[in-house]
Amino acid sequence: MKTFNLPDLGEGLPDAEINEWHIKEGDIVEADQLLVSMETAKAVVEVPAPRSGKVVKFYGKTGDIIKTHMPLIEFEDDDGSQAMEAHHEGKTAATTAATPMAISSNAVFLLPDLGEGLPDAEINEWHVKEGDEIEADQPLASMETAKAVVEVPSPHSGKIAKLYGKAGDVIITGSPLVEFVVTGGAPVAEDAGTVVGNIEVSNEVLRESATGIKPMKVSGNKIKAVPAARILAKKSGIDLSTVTGSGPHGSISVDDVKKHLGQGGAAVNIPVASPVATRPSIPGAEPLRGVRRTMAIMMSQSHREVVPVTILDDADIYAWPKGTDITLRIIRAVVFACKEEPALNAWYDGAANARKLFDEVNLGLAVDSKEGLFVPVINDVANLDAKEIRATVNRFKTQVQDRTIPQEELRGNTITLSNFGVFAGRYANPIIVPPSVAILGCGRLREEVVPEKGKPAIHRVMPLSITFDHRAATGGEATRFLAAVITDLQKEN
């Protein structure tokens, strides 16, 4: 026990600066003799000798900063048996504080020269991942240099904040390889920022919006409404922001809500999944996960709630020029039909028997993937041009396949399109997912013998299947809608 480590001179101080040595190397000192004055973030503190003996080495000169629990001086090892309280304490702190105090320097570990003058190395495989708590010397990665595959160990213990690169990437020698979460190591001589204890400091940057993914509920406090009105609105599924208040300062009264209801104020309810059995009754059955599970829940909900009617017809697309973008034409037809007959571009709340018609068309596109069914939404599709729509459709396809589609693009569809015919199938009964009330399915294009001016002719036709929720729309509205779709599809351009 010959090294005296700098003790914590305050409460949770990360380090101290050497102000002045009172002794010199080679001096023989008595226990409690003042060794050095050290300046902390808070005060100048005299540090006494923990024991008697000859000082053989200083670990710093005036102006140097010594980190807490790091060596300050070394005694000649004339009495190794003498326990040194300060040293012992320091060690305890360093080991117990696996959480906040352990490491202090080198937040970023730079790739060292793994051979002799090697310019770079390729990452073969990571042995750790971001967020891992690792020990000193634990292998971080195997790196392939021009000469060999080398295991790179961790320079110290700590939590990994960031890995610079993935397998196959080449890292230049001296460039960052791994970043650690800095704990307890506030930048040198900076304010500790507390009067007690030790506040963990990190430069890790949080990538998260202030509101999280979505504030599920908009605080009612922004809208002035009397409590009774708010209760009624909640029960009727009315969004109070759509109600005009007639009370003082524009506050909403019960009558205002009733009036709004009378005007066909519509309910908005985010669909709530139903419980599914925890333990499968089929031996060996795997519980569904993720998107596939969501699909199952949604479909069950639809089956329980919706009163579906499916209508089938064909559109004759003989007039289309060669190279027409089929998807874009179908989307255009849906937008056209929504304008002609708005009843199907809507949400319906069965519990409250309330519906809401939309001016804008937020079109959900059913996209199949290995994981399950996704329905990304093109918002306000009527105001996008063909190029933008095509770009969005393409992006959705890619993002669905590599599972990078953001959650917020998977909700809010006011009507849905399923182009199942890409694979096979002429007609279907597409399933509506509440709260939307209609879905249009397009089957496989085919050639059909049709009468043309009294003679048989062969035209290409597109089979259409539309399902609507008969609670929310009438048969007349649905057939008018389908007619509008066909009319638009049958145009040449």
């Binding site: 509920k217 605080s219 009612g220 406090n221 002035k224 409590p227 009774a228 708010r230 209760i231 909640k234």
Partner: protein, 357 residues
């Protein structure tokens, strides 16, 4: 060994002011207010009104028409004078026995009775900034300090008056408020209405301090004692303290010596802890008779006027009772209406339970 020399680093003295003795005779040369008979008659009339109201309120409680009520019998002069001297824009932070001030600052008899009659609407009286009655003892002193700080920050010429009892001077809030008022030099006047009893605990058990006024010395603010049953002395001392504070010269503490002639509240029985003899003696010092005698001695008052006044005040009180008796019970949902400016969604369900009766 020689005697240790200790030098005096601080000394204090506390004065006591009285102009009219128990019988209403001058005990020293009188100030100019003593010749302003119009004002003295106005104050006298108000004190008679207060006593008529107080007597009625006790009777209402005794007949089941009011909840617990804290009487002001014998303390009328203190509130009457403070209410007279405070400006409209000043701010009052009262305890719960300050009707004499409050009735001159927008509160009505109906409000006071509503408060003691179990109805929060009593605190919604016609003064936009005065604090409402404060039951937890001395905590209003800190509200007064905060209000005075607000006045100071805005550089307004307003004074805040905190009124508390002798018992309240034992609370930390009282000391803390005086301390901060001293160090921030707040426009704040503390008036300790020392009625000698905190329920059953007499003044000398409350504190070993010779006066309560001297507690201000520790906070570095000036203070004095005054005969709180002497309208003229009260007027002199309170006026000076208010002017001082209004002119930016800082806080002041006044200990007004008076006596609680009635029980602590209508639920209390003071005969359990104090003698009839003590109360009888205190009746000799009560404030209304004193100023009455002074006015009569100066030929400004007589029996005819007195009889008329008594009738007038009883009628006045009776008239104001109508409002209280006609006050409908609050709606049950009123519990929720002012919990927050806008009731949080989380409370709607409970609101609905109540609204459905």
């Amino acid at each position: 060994m020689s005697e240790v020399i200790k030098s005096t680093v601080a000394e204090f003295n506390i004065t006591y002011t009285q102009f009219l003795d128990e019988s209403g005779k001058p005990s020293q040369d009188l100030p100019s207010i003593a010749k302003d008979f119009d004002k003295l008659i106005k104050l006298y009339r108000f004190m008679v009104f207060l006593r008529a109201f107080d007597t009625k309120a006790i009777n209402l409680q005794r007949t089941g028409k009011l909840g617990t009520y804290a009487a002001i019998l014998g303390q009328e002069a203190v509130g009457t004078v403070i209410g007279e001297l405070m400006q409209k824009e000043d701010i009052l932070a009262p305890a719960y026995r300050e009707y004499g001030i409050q009735l001159q600052r927008g509160m009505k008899i109906q409000d006071i009775l509503n408060f003691w009659g179990g109805d929060e609407r009593g605190n919604n009286f016609a003064n936009p900034h005065d604090f409402s009655m404060c039951v937890p003892i001395a905590s209003q002193c800190l509200h007064a300090a905060g209000a005075a700080k607000a006045v100071q920050i805005r550089k307004e010429k307003r004074v805040v008056v905190a009124v508390c009892g002798d018992g309240a001077t034992s609370e930390g809030d009282f000391y803390e408020a005086m301390n901060v008022a001293g160090t921030w030099k707040l426009p704040l006047v503390f008036i300790v209405c020392n009625n000698q009893w905190a329920i059953s605990v007499p003044r000398h058990v409350q504190s070993a301090a010779g006066t309560l006024a001297q507690k201000a010395i520790a906070a570095g603010i000036p203070s004095e004692q005054v005969d709180g049953n002497d309208v003229i002395a009260m007027h002199e001392v309170v006026e000076q303290a208010l002017d001082r504070a209004r002119n930016g010269d800082g806080p002041y503490v006044i200990e007004a010596i008076t006596y609680r002639l009635h029980d602590h509240t209508t639920a209390d029985d003071a005969t359990r802890y104090r003698s009839q003899e003590e109360v009888d003696q205190a009746w000799q010092r009560e404030p209304i008779k004193r100023i009455h005698n002074y006015l009569v001695a100066n030929n400004k008052w007589n029996d005819d006027l007195e009889t008329k006044l008594q009738e007038e005040m009883k009628a006045h009180v009776a008239e104001e009772l109508e409002g209280y008796f006609n006050m409908p019970k609050p709606k049950a949902t009123d519990m929720f209406e002012h919990m927050y400016e806008t009731l949080p969604d989380a409370l709607l369900e409970q609101y609905e339970i109540v609204s459905q009766g």
